[in-house]
């Protein structure tokens, strides 16, 4: 079947459309997901704040619901509806808004299966935007996924390209557990090859984006393309970097990372999330624990500083881990000696 260029946004839209076509139990809900209920000219006026759900309202009448600004209620509704045979895809517009609906995610959705003795199935997907780069400042730019990763019972997905976005979202919708699907807001216009047909990408299977022998660079979400750029630059300095995209941080494919570290002996982890208790710390600790003997140098974690995301452009640019930061980290570990 055909492969063509789609944007990250279009890939997500296509995943939703194909799944809604295939499975009538899939519904979509969120703020302005249709257009703006009750407003003149409402029908599909927006299709989501950045246009991701555009066109779905017309294609699937009654299955794309606008909500008031009431995250606790509609995220909770998505969770409740999931226990009754629907497969809701609720949009938490900005991951930063998790604060106003966290209970429904952490204490309800995440825990039903376990605390009800294996008798609940809660196939809800919460799509959400994360990340810095759009000058949206402190309350609209966080990479809050470590907090979801921390919760047993949730699955956390970080698509790094349009191809990943479509396959992982289709997988998320078909998965029978609650999934937090984290879309980087600065990636919506990024284009890439995306097959026309419906396909899935399994959870817990990392992608080795680029092979190399001198250093392993694990990167998440938008950082994957930064790591790829860093690898190109390292190549020209004679350093061969292996870039790994875990795709899902819960479940995490540690084996692929360990296998790579066994070969390279050096690890850099690039994580846009705030440095305390982020995925870089989690992955690093697990690797040290399992593969201390394979390491030839300390692990380098490339993350922002421990500060809220600033607004002013030069400050935000300093905040976000850069290609140069990754190159420097890789050089540090490859040049390290006792």
């Amino acid at each position: 079947m055909a492969i063509r260029k789609l944007s990250y946004r279009e890939a997500i839209n296509e995943a939703l459309a194909q799944e809604m076509e295939r499975d009538p139990s899939v519904i979509v809900m969120g703020e302005d997901n249709a257009g703006g209920a009750g407003a003149p000219g409402e029908d599909d006026a927006w299709g989501g704040v950045l246009g991701v759900t555009k066109g779905l309202y017309d294609k699937f009448p009654g299955r794309v619901l606008d909500t008031p600004i009431t995250e606790s209620a509609f995220v909770g509704a998505a969770v409740g509806a999931a226990t009754r045979g629907l497969r809701p895809v609720a949009e938490l517009m900005f991951i930063d808004f998790a604060g106003v609906c966290l209970d429904q995610i952490m204490n309800q959705a995440a825990k039903f299966r376990y605390m009800f003795g294996g008798k609940a199935v809660t196939p809800v997907v919460i799509r959400t935007m994360y990340g810095a780069g759009l000058r949206a400042a402190a309350q609209h730019s966080q990479a809050f996924y470590p907090v979801f990763t921390h919760l047993p019972g949730l699955k956390v997905v970080l698509p790094s390209s349009p191809y990943e976005a479509k396959g992982l979202l289709i997988q998320s919708i078909r998965d029978n557990d609650p999934v937090i699907f984290c879309e980087h807001k600065a990636m919506y216009d990024v284009t890439g090859d995306v097959p026309e047909e419906s396909y899935t990408i399994p959870f817990g299977e990392a992608n080795v984006v680029r092979e190399g022998d001198d250093v392993t660079i694990v990167a998440l979400g938008r950082m994957v393309s930064f790591a790829q750029q860093a690898a190109e630059e390292l190549e020209s300095s004679g350093v061969s970097a292996e870039v790994i995209d875990p795709r899902t941080v819960s479940p995490l494919d540690l084996d692929t990372i360990l296998e790579s570290v066994q070969n390279t002996g050096r690890l850099v982890v690039v994580d846009e999330a705030s440095p305390r208790c982020n995925l870089a710390t989690d992955i690093s600790a697990q690797v040290v624990s399992e593969a201390f003997g394979d390491l030839k140098a300390p692990i380098k974690m490339v993350s922002p500083p421990h500060v809220p995301v600033p607004f002013a452009e030069p400050l935000e640019d300093l905040y976000i881990p850069s290609v140069q930061d990754i190159v420097n980290a890789a050089k540090t570990v490859t040049e390290w000696s006792k």
Binding site: I27, G62, R63, L65, T67, P68, T70, S72, A73, F74, V75, G76, A77, A78, V79, G80, A81, A82, T83, R84, G85, L86, P88, D103, Q104, N107, Q108, K111, F112, R113, Y114, M115, F116, G117, G118, K119, A120, V121, P152, G153, K155, D175, N176, D177
Partner: protein, 338 residues
């Protein structure tokens, strides 16, 4: 606008609406709840029950009067930390409930939930809930599912006077109105949220007064009178089934025991509970009503009492004899596949 039962055109709730079988059935439910809770009170005092329990004794008419209108397959309820009564009224089996409270593997949740998380999704019982206000958003979801399926099902959110102030509850009421959901919100006002009185914590004169603010009817109901609850709930549920949207019922009564077992209840007036038990008790009032009107005899009711007592004895004996979960059970049922 807040209504009382009489303004709905029902002067005295009518005992003739239920037939003899149904009257015995609802009596059995209320007696089962009372006997269950009284027994758990006794057993807890021996130290055999782990954790916390929150007992529903005194409130039987509410759960029973509402759930008497509900079907196991298409109707759902969400509950509170004080959930045993809702469970029994919705048809959750008593023996597994008791085993769950004792933390045994034969429990409703295989011993992994405990008193505050007893659930039976197969009977539309979404679980007792340890989070105040955790239930109402879930019911927006189950009601949404029923509406989409078109099966006439309804969702009932039971919550307390404490939860009536929680943002999630208020959001859920608004969303239920905006989406015109078949949802019934039952505020069980027993006068206390833990040790704090509802007259202090609820800014309005009545919880039901808030209904108008959320675009739905609000009805105050005498919670010691089974027939009053049955009638008001019937009206609200019928309205919901017919697409008339949500209703807020405020059931006013009291709980006989403390917030939790072990609560010394120093915040209550002297003889407060004893006086209410004497003059208002729902089981006594039910009996007086059906016997005086010649619908049932004392003998018939006594027989139910005896049968229930036997059932509770068996439930406790079996729960005590049952095994605890095995170490392997610690790790199971976090996700659907493992």
């Amino acid at each position: 606008m807040t209504q009382t039962l009489s303004s709905l055109g029902a002067d005295a709730p009518d005992a003739s609406v239920l037939n003899e079988t149904q009257l015995l059935d609802v009596y059995r439910t209320m007696r089962s709840i009372r006997a269950f809770e009284d027994r758990v009170h006794d057993e807890f005092a021996t130290g055999d029950i782990p954790g916390f329990v929150h007992l529903y004794a005194g409130e039987e008419a509410s759960a029973t009067g509402v759930c008497a209108h509900l079907d196991p397959d298409r109707d759902t309820i969400a509950s509170t930390h004080r959930g045993h009564g809702h469970c029994i009224a919705k048809g959750v089996d008593i023996k597994p409930m008791m085993a769950e409270i004792f933390g045994k593997s034969t429990g409703s949740c295989r011993g992994k939930g405990g008193s505050m998380h007893i659930a039976d999704l197969s009977k539309g019982m979404l679980g007792a809930n340890g989070i105040v206000g955790g239930g109402p958003p879930l019911i927006c979801g189950t009601a949404l599912a029923a509406k989409i399926k078109g099966d006439g099902g309804v969702g009932v959110a039971f919550f307390g006077d404490g939860a009536s102030n929680q943002g999630t509850t208020l959001e859920a009421m608004n969303l239920a109105s905006v989406w015109n959901l078949p949802a019934i919100f039952v505020a069980e006002n027993n006068g206390y949220a833990e040790a704090t009185s509802s007259t202090w914590s609820v800014a309005a004169d009545n919880i039901a007064d808030r209904a108008a603010g959320f675009g739905m009817p609000g009805v105050i109901v005498d919670g010691f009178d089974f027939f009053a609850v049955y009638e008001a709930a019937g009206e609200a549920i019928k309205r919901a089934r017919q697409g008339g949207g949500p209703t807020l019922l405020e059931v006013k009564f009291t709980r006989y025991y403390g917030h939790f077992e072990g609560d010394q209840q120093k915040y209550r007036g002297p003889n407060e509970v004893a006086n209410i038990k004497e003059s208002q008790d729902c089981l006594k009032r039910f009996r007086a009503r059906v016997v005086e009107t010649g619908r049932l005899t004392d003998a018939q009711l006594d027989q139910v009492d005896a049968q229930v007592a036997t059932l509770i004895d068996e439930a406790v004996a079996e729960a005590k004899a049952a095994p605890v979960p095995s170490p392997e059970d610690l790790l199971t049922d976090v996700y659907v596949k493992y």
